[in-house]
Symmetry: C2
Subunit: 405 residues, 2 copies
């Protein structure tokens, strides 16, 4: 059995890096706070006698050899970066849970057949650098290495420079290559498990994501002297678009739409906006629905720009297909939950996760535990100690099973 007290205190300690006033965390990828938690995690891995390595995008791996050190490893983990206003479980649970699994194996001197590797993926959140799930995407060879060089944050600071600066630029040789399977424990971040009064979710797949960047370009001019009919006000058109985007989503059941990011230029009170750039995050469990909606939306936005005589440029920041996880792993998760008497159900993930890209490399699966109130990406994000312990116990059970195959 896992050591619940140790697990909870490790999660607590980890929440010391990037603490926000109301119990949440701000630990953006490759920030000073990220560096701190990485240093701490590295120390903890070494204390657990793991063989630590860092790859070229800063993914951190800790390997525990098995009886057969050349066998493909069972990999478990998640990410330690957070949103700008984030919680202390999203991602963290999966990494600290993985560490607890290794510590428990050590406690009982268990030697598995296969190696077990724990991992912290870089920049899963996409809160500082886009795209999200960057580290796992590179590890899975889905995001090409050349792309990395172009990635900058909103202050135009390059991903690669920050990686170097915090001392986590490792070698491409260290990347995760072949593995036996990948398992990720995560909070649900939605209301399904809580609503259905279940402790364990066996995740069947992840819905697809489109992220568009819309740039509306008008002409700046004086707020006090330019007659309304002579204006090309980018904000006016953007306002109509935003209103319309949300409205058109209402008629599509299951569609989630979020305009989370916006920036105006020159962004002063007394000049008409020259340019407004905003993001649209579009999700639907059915890829065809998502793609159709996105396609129609693009057409509608182009028409709106045409009518208002402003320019529009649209860019796909993300277009990621839905992912289906191994059915065997799904049933193993439910079997493990049953063994301990935990209530479990199957569900689909609304959020993207590193497991999405790992599924390209090997059969992957995810264990969810409830998020109280269904909230996440906010300081109120919370899961109970009991559910946390149950999740890690199930993870341990799966590792024991797969690492002894």
């Amino acid at each position: 059995n896992i050591n619940k007290k140790r697990l909870l205190s490790t999660i607590d300690t980890s929440a010391g890096c990037g603490t926000l006033p109301n119990g949440g965390l701000c630990r953006l990828a490759l920030s000073e706070e990220d560096q701190k938690i990485r240093d701490l995690f590295k120390e903890w891995m070494k204390e657990s006698h793991l063989d630590v390595r860092i790859d070229d995008v800063g993914n951190m791996y800790g390997r525990r050899p098995g009886k057969n050190p050349d066998a493909l490893p069972v990999v478990i983990g998640s990410h330690l970066d957070t949103q700008r206003i984030g919680g202390k479980y999203d991602g963290i649970l999966g990494v600290m849970g993985a560490l607890e699994v290794v510590r428990t194996l050590n406690d009982y001197d268990i030697e598995t057949e296969r190696p077990v590797e724990i991992v912290n993926f870089t920049n899963e959140e996409g809160a500082r650098f886009l795209p999200s799930m960057l580290g796992s995407g590179v590890a899975a060879n889905v995001i090409p290495t050349e792309e990395i060089l172009k990635i900058k944050d909103k202050d135009q600071i390059r991903f690669v420079d920050e990686l170097e600066k915090i001392g986590y630029k490792g070698s491409a040789r260290n990347r995760l290559h072949e593995m036996y399977c990948y398992l990720e424990l995560h909070i649900e971040q939605g209301p399904v498990l809580e609503t259905n009064d279940q402790s364990i979710g066996a995740v069947t797949g992840i819905q697809g994501i489109s992220v568009l960047e819309v740039c509306v370009k008008g002409r700046t001019s004086h707020a006090g002297t330019t007659p309304m009919e002579n204006r090309k006000d980018a904000m006016r058109t953007a306002g109509k678009m935003i209103q319309d985007i949300y409205q058109s989503a209402e008629s599509v059941p299951g569609l989630l739409i979020t305009i989370g990011q916006i920036q105006a230029l020159p962004n002063v009170t007394n000049s008409v906006a020259e340019q407004v750039i905003f993001s649209i995050d579009i999700r639907h469990p059915d890829d065809a629905m998502r793609m159709m909606f996105t396609h129609e939306l693009k057409e509608k936005l182009s028409t709106k720009a045409l009518i208002d005589q402003v320019d529009i440029h649209m860019k796909d920041l993300m277009d990621v297909k839905a992912e289906k996880f191994s059915e065997d792993i799904v049933s193993e998760i439910q079997r493990a939950a049953d063994k301990f008497g935990y209530r479990s159900m199957k569900l689909i993930s609304g959020a993207g996760h590193d497991a999405k890209y790992m599924n390209q490399l090997a059969p992957s699966g995810m264990i969810f535990i409830p998020s109280i109130g269904g909230v996440s990406h906010c300081e109120e994000e919370f899961s109970t100690d009991e559910d946390i312990a149950k999740g890690v116990q199930v993870l341990l059970e799966l590792v024991l099973r797969f690492a002894n195959h």
Copy 2:
């Protein structure tokens, strides 16, 4: 007569501080670029034997004594700061024109009865620090000195610290006090003079300005997992508001409405916006109309927030009444234009100007010259060399008349 070549070359040289790629300027108040143009202007004033002084908000004055050095001075000037994406005439023409007037008086060894003072007011644009017309507002005792300490730019840098840093924090003793009259030459920034084929505008007054800051507060949550019906999306409500604000302005003739500034929090693609803050600039020649519209708008926005179950906070960033200039000065401007055979007309200013606050201290007036295409607060802002020379010639004529009263 003024020296047109010298005038144009001085304006050209001044455009070397804060040059943008397409002919415009970015010379935000108290920036390094502002420091540069201030240093240059100070040097030019000293070369013209002016007695230079700086007051406690960085307003720069250069005094040319008259036969009667204790008589109230005729004050002429404007501002040298620009918008974030601004032109090279807005404000600059009035300061460099004033310098050219003094230089011409020196050329011909003219000793006026009254002293003549030229001035560069700090932060007229309001592009970096709000409110706009800050320097003249403080000089006119309309903006209280205590307010200055609270003023910060968007990066939370304090006005007073920046003033100190660029070396332009002078003494309150140096403030402009009593004066005989104030005259400001400025580009029109609108289309009226050009449309009517006139070279000189005699400005009868300035329309009032309201600037509101609207803060919509919802709740951040995950873009991929939060059902649409469980969201408090501040952007969704802000989008409806922006759309509605522009639309409701359509039914009010003469009303100008501009949403120029917007900021979202946490401002990431995959989190619902917790908070959206935007500005509304509202102008109308009739104060009653402006105030009524503003009042009704506030009510409407509160209702919208209520319906969407989000919080709203509104703050008046500016609420400045319309100003009427001295009729005597208006007729003097037209008389001077007539004398040189320049076509002139009366008009009202859509933009706020330092003359607005100076009018509280002494009779004030403004001379406008055409803006080609009516555009301003953009790089395309342009006035012809001929109109520039005409404007300064009229300014000289008025100075000769009033300074010899």
